[in-house]
């Protein structure tokens, strides 16, 4: 069934469709509509889940960890400071290999208070062992959450589905609320708490064994990259919507590639059209899957990386990832931080003026 929905509503509806057993969440702008919608679905009997109104984000994820450790499918949603407050438990969930799925509504971090879109919150959690996906449409939010449960439970890693605050969370767009059918099989964790087979989970572990468990997270993350392709392939077969780790646009004969994430990267496709009309061979790549980081095939191209974030003293985080994985010079545009409105005309102009290498802060430089 197709209808108009916000990014937040799409997240909530996907959670319902994924037969989640326990939802624990704390409200924060601009995520509130996700938990409000879920609360309403639960209280009107449309969704058979326990909804725990926790007193903090730390407890939100702790409750999800408890539920998930006992073998139940769990969900939480947060944003910005809420995500940062969870940080300890974010590591814990991954270390415990629990396939929790979280929606993070990307928002800036204080001070100053700023409630608008910014990728700094989730990117500051990049090294925690969570898979990270960045959606750019309401439909993609819905689809990515469905795929994330399937994938997370396959590789026993948690997944974070990120969407831009307000720009996507509060925008209404057409949404096909596809019944998931048996796309997500019933959850069956190999390491669930079991009173008939008592085990102590996460007790003191010496350096040699600890080392191996960490390596196993790394290996699982690499396996997730392959498994994710399989999940996407099956999703496309069943529901007709195709996704990949990177959404490429007019890249075939391009000599210049704009790389970005989230809604800004989709707007960049309009900039590509504009530049193509001028005869410039420009294409774009929208990175959907940030962890595990995919190969982008950028060798020999001129790369313009759009970052809605910055690792202070090092530059845009996406640009760094590209440089690390590919032997290419990168021109890094830092734009959109704290909700700065970035129009496709502006992106096009920046690409026209782009140098082979360097950094440019939109609105500052």
């Amino acid at each position: 069934m197709k209808k108009m929905a916000t990014g937040n509503q799409a997240a909530a509806l996907a959670v319902k469709e994924s037969n989640v057993e326990v939802v624990a969440a704390y409200p924060i702008t601009p995520q509130t509509e996700v938990v409000e919608t879920i609360a309403s679905l639960v209280e009107t009997g449309k969704m058979n889940a326990s909804y725990i109104r926790v007193e903090s984000e730390h407890s939100a994820l702790a409750a999800c960890i408890g539920a998930s450790a006992s073998g139940a499918r769990a969900f939480t949603a947060t944003s910005s400071h809420g995500l940062l407050y969870m940080h300890e438990m974010i590591h814990w969930a991954a270390g415990a290999r629990l396939p929790i799925v979280m929606a993070n509504i990307n928002r800036a971090i204080g001070p100053a208070w700023n409630i608008w879109a910014d990728h700094s919150d989730s990117l500051s959690q990049r090294d925690t062992g969570w898979m990270q996906f960045y959606a750019a449409t309401v439909q993609e939010v819905y689809d990515t959450i469905l795929m994330s449960y399937r994938l997370a439970e396959k590789v026993c890693l948690p997944a974070m589905v990120c969407l831009d605050g307000f720009i996507l969370s509060h925008a209404i767009q057409p949404l096909d609320v596809t019944p998931s059918g048996d796309f997500i099989p019933p959850i069956s964790l190999p390491h669930a708490l079991d009173t008939k087979n008592p085990m102590s989970y996460g007790n003191l572990t010496g350096p040699n064994d600890y080392f191996k468990f960490r390596r196993m997270i790394h290996d699982a993350m690499k396996r997730a990259d392959k498994e994710c392709r399989e999940v996407e392939r099956e999703f496309a077969e069943r529901f007709g919507r195709k996704y990949g780790p990177v959404m490429e646009y007019r890249t075939d004969d391009a000599d210049t590639i704009i790389v970005g994430m989230g809604t800004m990267a989709r707007e960049a496709e309009v900039a590509v059209d504009l530049l193509r009309k001028e005869g410039l061979k420009v294409g774009s790549m929208r990175v959907r899957q940030f962890r595990p980081f995919p190969r982008l095939g950028l060798e020999g191209k001129k790369v313009v990386a759009l970052d809605r974030d910055c690792s202070y003293g090092a530059g845009g985080i996406l640009a760094q990832e590209i440089r690390f994985h590919h032997d290419v010079p990168v021109y890094n545009i830092i734009a959109g931080i704290g909700g700065q409105d970035v129009r496709y005309e502006v992106i096009a102009e920046l690409v026209r003026k782009a140098r082979p290498e360097g950094e440019f802060w939109l609105g500052v430089d």
Binding site: E21, V22, A24, S50, I52, R53, V54, E55, S56, H58, S59, A60, A62, A63, C64, I65, G66, A67, S68, A69, S70, G71, A72, A74, E88, M89, W92, L193, D194, T195, P198, M199, S200, Y201, G202, N203, L204, T205, G206, D209
Partner: protein, 295 residues
């Protein structure tokens, strides 16, 4: 005298707790009362280490180890999943994880009436990290962060918990294992949040000879440093040892003298605090103040 307590041991021999550990003595009876159908949630505390090292554990029931501040919320997460209905979900947390860093999650869980039993085993300091002061450390006690003795007074977590009106709350002691056993049994028949606060003397932290764990635990009750009572339906009911102690408390010095942590304590001030606490628990239990009654 042991006939009514099951012989099964769920705390296995050869755990890594210190000799004479009051917390392990308490846990032994908590697990006997709870039985096999139990999941323990264990935040950072002595009990994290007492389990032993991967791939072995001395605890015979499933344990979810969790971050320091997260125990009550994690336990609620387990209890909230449909699949865990009917299981005993028990938090076993130290005083630091309860009175200090975990208090927020605990407060939220009680407010939601999470179906868990939260047990705080209180050894009155961060014993696992080498005896630093916690909110539960009594006035005058020497810890590594109060090297000349604590100058201010401890936090009364029981009153804070009571303000949440939990379904059931009790104060117990490792030195009264049968009483503790009964309280856990009772708590586990009640739906909703239950809280049991257990005093667990700690030879390493309190600086006394290991054989005195039970003796000191008893003395704490007899001199009025610790009360045994239950809170149910909004009412405080004192247990017999505390009733007796309130009538005729043992000399505080008997409790204080064997403990190195109280070396140089201002006994008068400590006595004043104990007297005030005794008046307060009398008031809560609806017993007339002894002093007023005699006047």
């Amino acid at each position: 005298m042991l006939d009514d307590i099951p012989q099964e041991e769920y705390l296995l021999k050869g755990n890594t707790a210190c000799a004479g550990c009051g917390a392990m003595l308490a846990l032994r009876y908590i697990l006997k009362a709870a039985g096999q159908n139990t999941i323990i949630v264990n935040p950072a505390c002595c009990s994290t280490v007492c389990q032993g090292t991967y791939p072995k554990t001395a605890y015979g029931v499933p344990v979810l180890n969790i971050a320091f501040a997260a125990a009550a919320a994690a336990a609620d997460g387990i209890a909230s999943a449909r699949r865990n209905k009917g299981k005993n979900i028990i938090v076993f947390a130290g005083d630091g994880g309860t009175v200090d860093i975990g208090i927020q999650a605990l407060s939220g869980a009680i407010e939601r009436n999470a179906n868990i039993l939260y047990i705080c085993y209180d050894n009155e300091a961060y014993s696992n990290t080498g005896m630093q002061k916690s909110g539960s450390t009594p006035y005058g006690a020497i810890t590594t962060t109060t090297p000349t003795g604590r100058k201010d007074s401890k936090k009364d977590i029981d009153l804070i918990i009571m303000a949440h009106r939990p379904k059931y709350m009790a104060s117990a002691s490792a030195a009264y294992p049968k009483d503790l056993y009964e309280k856990v049994r009772k708590a586990l028949t009640i739906e909703g949040t239950k809280f049991i606060h257990v005093l667990c003397p700690c030879p390493s932290g309190w600086r006394y000879s290991t054989e005195k764990t039970v003796e000191l635990g008893r003395l704490a009750v007899r001199c009025g440093m610790w009360f045994l009572y239950e809170y149910e339906d909004g009412k405080v009911k004192l247990n017999a040892p505390t009733k007796a102690a309130l009538k005729r408390p043992a000399p505080l010095a008997d409790y204080v003298r064997p403990q190195g942590r109280f070396k140089g304590v201002n006994l008068e001030r400590l006595q004043k605090e104990v007297d005030e606490e005794m008046d307060r628990i009398r008031a809560l239990a609806g017993i007339e103040n002894a002093k007023e009654a005699s006047e």
